[in-house]
């Protein structure tokens, strides 16, 4: 049982500070997902929790105890490395059993646990191979296997599924979800995959440049992003931001307009705007719907179409030159240059200050 508290955590490489004061509370048994752009410090944070990086500042508490200087082996964590870090001189089986061997588990126990992990990971036929004889995804699964054969109180996953195909990834994702429920262990999970983040997380922490941008439940973040960065980061394709002028504003709503768009009233969600302000209207591509020219609020010409089968993403060049992404949940055919008109529900938009 382990709850984890990060308090003002900092990490520098030389003069370069990559974690710049991070506070996160992870409750015992919680599934916490770190997301953020490449290089924002996710792996570093994970490695600090594991005890592999020195902590330059702040405190790290596991289970109420300060563990800044505690050795990794005494922290009771298991970790899946982004670069796998599987032992080249051991077979897959030995790799998976490593933690058990270390703790002196019996042969039978090892065999059984490895067998179970291999089933979950669909790699029973590979158990006697050497890592050099595996494909990228297979190696990654070995790394996962090594973590799950043990029963640590904290799991750390660093992009564990990035090299797996969609089907297997979904499967693994569900397995990890199941594992989490079964073991009740605390899990910290780094991923670039929004689906993984949204589906697995009890709590998502969005990082940027070594700082926490927002943390909370997936839906909270999705529907109530604390700032423009989070709004843009979550959701794919990402949110459109349209420059608008604030005409009127109160504590609930604001009336905004822009060139070639009639004024609409949108919620301000706690932000303050004054008439005359320039603001950014956030509009998720999925919430844009095709409409007739007269109902439509936005008009543009198709500049790019991406057909994904069940979804069609369209890049529109609007009259004032800005571009807008729209996603339709159907396979639709568009011609490049085709003119389309779009509507959206103002209640589902977000309004941001431009410098957020």
């Amino acid at each position: 049982m382990a709850d984890i508290k990060l308090r003002g955590l900092r990490k520098s490489y030389g003069a370069h500070e990559v974690i710049r004061g991070v506070d996160i509370d992870i409750a015992d048994g919680e599934f916490c997902v770190f997301v953020g752009p490449s290089g924002c410090g996710k792996s570093t944070l994970l490695r600090m929790i594991a005890g592999l990086e020195d902590i330059s500042g702040g405190t790290l508490e596991i289970d109420g105890e300060r563990v800044n200087d505690v050795q990794p082996r005494e922290r009771g964590v298991a970790m899946v490395f982004q670069s796998y870090a599987i032992f080249p001189h051991m077979s897959v089986r030995e790799n998976m059993a490593f933690g058990l061997t270390i703790s002196g588990a019996s042969k039978a126990e090892k065999a059984e646990k490895v067998q179970r992990a291999a089933e979950i990971l669909q790699m029973e036929h590979l158990l006697d191979r050497r890592p050099s004889q595996l494909s990228g995804g297979q190696r990654q699964r070995v790394a996962i296997g090594r973590a799950i054969t043990r029963n640590p109180s904290v799991f750390l996953f660093d992009e564990p599924l990035s090299n797996l195909d969609a089907a297997l990834r979904m499967d693994m994702r569900m397995q990890i979800g199941k594992l989490h429920k079964q073991l009740g262990a605390t899990m910290i999970y780094v991923t670039h995959d929004q689906v993984e983040a949204m589906t697995l997380a009890d709590k998502i922490v969005v990082l940027r440049d070594g700082l926490v941008m927002q943390s909370g439940s997936p839906m909270e973040l999705y529907h109530n992003p604390a700032n423009r960065f989070v709004a843009g980061f979550l959701g794919a394709p990402s949110m459109n931001f349209l420059e608008v002028e604030v005409l009127e504003a109160d504590s609930e709503n604001a009336k905004v307009a822009r060139h070639s768009m009639d004024p609409i009233v949108v919620p301000v969600r706690g932000r303050k705007f004054a008439p005359g302000d320039t603001a950014l209207l956030g509009l998720r591509p999925q919430y844009v719907t095709p409409s007739t020219p007269d109902e439509g609020v936005l008009h543009g010409q198709v500049s790019l179409v991406e057909r994904l089968g069940s979804e069609t993403v369209v890049d529109l060049a609007m009259e004032d030159g800005t571009s807008l992404i729209a996603a339709f949940s159907e396979d639709k055919q568009f011609e490049r240059g085709e003119r389309i008109d779009l509507a959206f529900d103002p209640a589902r938009t977000h309004l941001f200050h431009p410098d957020e």
Partner: protein, 292 residues
């Protein structure tokens, strides 16, 4: 495969082998001379040294030199002594020096860097120059044996083994190699809960095939070719190694035939040791090799 291509290939292959063989000749001829000479009577072998006959099994060949060598000196005993002393030292040295190397690379402790510099500086000291002070030292050291406490290590195996176990060069070899190991493997093992010793035992050592082989060969050669040290610390024939034994053959008239026979005999174990190690060495590389 087109015909031209295969011809070209064969030609290129042929040239490669030719180069390899020519170089091999340079290395093997003097040794061939040694082996061939060991079957010839002394005066004939001396006469042959001036011509290509030196490398050829020509003339009156016999095993006389070998029987002669065995009569002149207890060759078997010397070889046993050398192998025993060498083997023990190599084993102990690999363990102790790799542990030290591990500690210097992966662990941090007070005084580590200073210690490392000092140890590395020691392999600059040629042994010949510390032999006498060392002799004075070991002649006074205590030893707790089966028959109680005794003083002085002379005339024993231990005096030939213990001072040679640790040396700066071997530690340096390990340090250099360990520095190149992927750090994340160590990290992975740490997270998995392995103690430092387990990391050493189960991760680092299995990955260290090449350096172990190199260090073992180096140590083996140094130990097997020991001359000055056993000469001064061992007075009893029963502990003498092969290189001291070689002196048995340099009488007023060196028995060159027997010398060659003896040299051949004492070279065989080293060669065997190398061949065995080479196999292990290649196997370890094959198993640790990484593929993209």
């Amino acid at each position: 495969m087109s015909v031209i291509g295969s011809d070209n290939r064969n030609l290129r292959l042929g040239v490669r082998y030719l180069v390899l063989i020519l170089i091999a000749l340079i290395f093997v001829l003097p040794l061939l001379f040694m082996v061939m000479s060991s079957f010839k009577p002394s005066d004939e072998l001396l006469r042959d040294t001036s011509s290509l006959r030196a490398f050829l099994p020509v003339g009156q060949l016999s095993l006389d030199n070998y029987t002669g060598a065995f009569e002149r000196a207890p060759v078997g005993l010397f070889v046993f002594n050398s192998i025993f002393v060498t083997g023990t030292t190599v084993l102990l040295s690999l363990v102790i020096c790799s542990l030290a190397g591990f500690s210097f690379v992966f662990l941090q402790w007070r005084g580590r860097d200073v210690m490392l510099s000092i140890i590395l500086a020691t392999f600059i000291v040629p042994f010949e120059t510390i032999a006498i002070p060392l002799l004075l030292e070991v002649s006074k050291l205590p030893w707790l044996g089966l028959d109680g406490l005794s003083w002085g290590w002379l005339d024993s195996y231990r005096v030939q083994i213990i001072p040679w176990i640790a040396d700066g060069l071997t530690i340096f070899l390990f340090v250099q190699y360990f520095k190149g190991l992927p750090g994340e493997l160590i990290e992975a093992a740490r997270v998995e809960g392995a103690s430092w010793f387990q990391i050493y035992r189960r991760v680092v050592i299995p990955l260290s095939g090449p350096v172990i082989a190199t260090a073992a060969i180096l140590k083996f050669l140094i130990m097997y070719n020991q001359y000055l040290w056993p000469l001064i610390v061992v007075q009893q024939e029963q502990y003498r190694p092969v290189m001291v034994g070689l002196q048995y053959f340099f009488q007023l008239n060196p028995a060159w035939g027997e010398i060659m026979a003896y040299l051949t005999l004492i070279t065989v174990p080293v060669l065997a040791f190398y061949l065995v190690l080479q196999k292990a060495f290649i196997a370890s590389i094959a198993s640790t090799g990484v593929k993209g």
